[in-house]
Symmetry: C2
């Protein structure tokens, strides 16, 4: 696989809850980690420039500011989003990818805006029925990829199968040593379980050349049964957000418990180095960066609440996908599967 050694990324500095004060330092961190990367900071220069004051000259040279004045808010309605023009940071960032001035784009803006403007400005790859949002979760085996996470609420069997092809290709680009094992989320493991759409997608995937392991259940996501879990965007979004909520609750309870008595406080002090390593391993920030697959360009969504570490992670993820030519690979794999289905 031909890897580009350098690529340029367009960063929407205003998306998300924290804006430039988090996204700009995160961009600097990403440059330090990824020597071939250049970043175009898209947003309001008066908010960006003060944040670049103390930055090392070698890193500063790999940063350019692209001035825009407007921001798409997180609660913007679809109609307002579609009226947005190049004065909006997300719009302009995507336009830079379309113009070839950047090879990837990162934004923590709202998913509807990313999807709508991604489709409008980058376009959908030939043969792709519907773009999908993918993410990675830490699990017992390391990480598991999952899609769709909310871009598509109603899907048909062919679309579910395409999600599997696209997601498996992303996993393979990152882990070329072996094909990704794929499972289709359902309410039971046995053939014949579930509604008509998953049963039909099951047959399409069985007939494909994917390393398809059949139906999986919710618990399989975290048990490490497969590398990639596929479902519709409604169920996927509920699983994603309920998992975030549950993990936050359990970590919160654990923290409260360790602070509740003098014995437990002392115990926590002793266990701290070990606990810290665990929390770091499972930290969702380390797995931030959800690509919108099926677009003619790399577009990665960063979580709205992302801090500096999480934002850096999303930038590095997007940079890698551009280096691996993920859109070209997806185009090829979809073309191949569509040909097989037609024949």
């Amino acid at each position: 696989m031909n890897l580009d050694k350098s690529s340029t990324l367009a960063l929407d500095v205003h998306g998300g809850d924290h804006g430039p004060k988090v996204t700009v330092p995160a961009a600097v961190d990403a440059l330090a980690e990824s020597p071939g990367l250049r970043i175009i900071l898209v947003g309001r220069p008066d908010e960006i420039e003060p944040l670049l004051a103390g930055v090392d000259a070698g890193l500063r040279d790999r940063l350019v500011i692209e001035a825009t004045s407007e921001v798409i808010t997180s609660d913007a309605r679809p109609r307002a989003i579609l009226r947005a023009g190049p004065e909006f940071s997300l719009y302009r960032a995507l336009q830079l990818v379309h113009e070839g001035r950047a090879q990837s784009c990162v934004s923590a803006g709202n998913t509807v805006a990313l999807m709508a403007l991604g489709v409008k400005l980058l376009g959908v790859l030939p043969g792709v029925s519907r773009p999908a949002l993918m993410s990675q979760f830490p699990n017992a085996a390391g990480t598991v990829g999952m899609l769709d996470l909310g871009a598509n609420l109603n899907v048909d069997a062919r679309q579910l199968a395409q999600f599997a092809f696209m997601g498996a290709e992303v996993r393979r680009a990152a882990h070329p040593e072996r094909p990704a094992s794929v499972g289709l989320l359902n309410v039971g493991h046995e053939d014949g379980k579930g509604h008509a759409v998953v049963r039909e997608a099951h047959e399409l995937l069985k007939a494909s050349d994917l390393d398809y392991r059949g139906f999986i259940e919710g618990h399989d996501i975290f048990e490490g049964t497969v590398d990639l879990a596929v479902c519709d965007g409604f169920a996927g979004n509920l699983v994603l957000k309920s998992s975030e909520g549950l993990a936050a609750m359990l970590f919160g309870e654990f923290r409260k418990t360790l602070e509740s008595t003098w014995r437990s406080r002392l115990g926590a002090l002793l266990a701290k180095p070990a606990l810290k390593a665990m929390v770091e391993r499972l930290d969702p920030a380390k797995h931030n960066g959800a690509p919108l697959l099926g677009l003619n360009g790399v577009l990665v969504k960063s979580h709205g609440r992302s801090g500096r570490l999480a934002t850096t992670q999303a930038i590095l993820e997007a940079g890698q996908e551009a280096q691996h030519h993920v859109p070209d690979r997806i185009e090829a794999v979809i073309k191949k599967h569509e040909r097989e289905t037609a024949s």
Copy 2:
């Protein structure tokens, strides 16, 4: 509300992974906790009787064995389930409820079998479109009820609204001090989010007299935003099982981490009393017992992997629902809402 002081429960001793060696001692524990309860142990006498050898005579008097010879296995196909007769423990247990010899039934058998035989032997309450499976999860506010958890993979708006009416009534029976607050699970909080079915159900619930709080997202389940979370059975089942898997993974990681170094082992020893209290509070076994709502009789599903404590909990839950006349209450509340919709 008129509460029965005594009731009889039919227990399918063979359902689930462990069978009589867990369900029979659990039944004895439930009798000790609930003085008004009597239990009919439905199953193979040669497997049940040895387990009753040392049981206190006062408790033994409140136990009866109903002899059956056959067991519906956890992987039984729907066709085989519907051919089952009174020689099967689950079938006979449900028949006892239908005959009025018991007021409730507990089984850890597979959900499809409980649903199919529950509908066949108990019948569906008038006005109820589809029975639904409900459960309780521990969360930041105490517990949250959730349905449907897999009985209905495709639902329409009216069915989702009925799930809300039924689930709210169960919460109210257990917590009569205030009406249950209800949320409809969706991919966003705002009006207009989600697919047509949830948007239509949202309007039905807004027009109802429920304490309806609108759309909620996955994380709200664990943040304690509402008392009851409503969704279709496909998404609900994925959320339920992924949450089980995530919780098991996180507790496993905590345990491994605390055992990893001598410092953390010492720390864990000191923190043990506090950690034990936390684990007990969040223990899913304490919240075992998922009623199938909408049937003309109380039928509670126990988790297939339930141990003794969890099984006791499911029995107590079923006993309480019988004492609270939950089926009568659901019939009344559905009748009222159907009348309102028609007028």
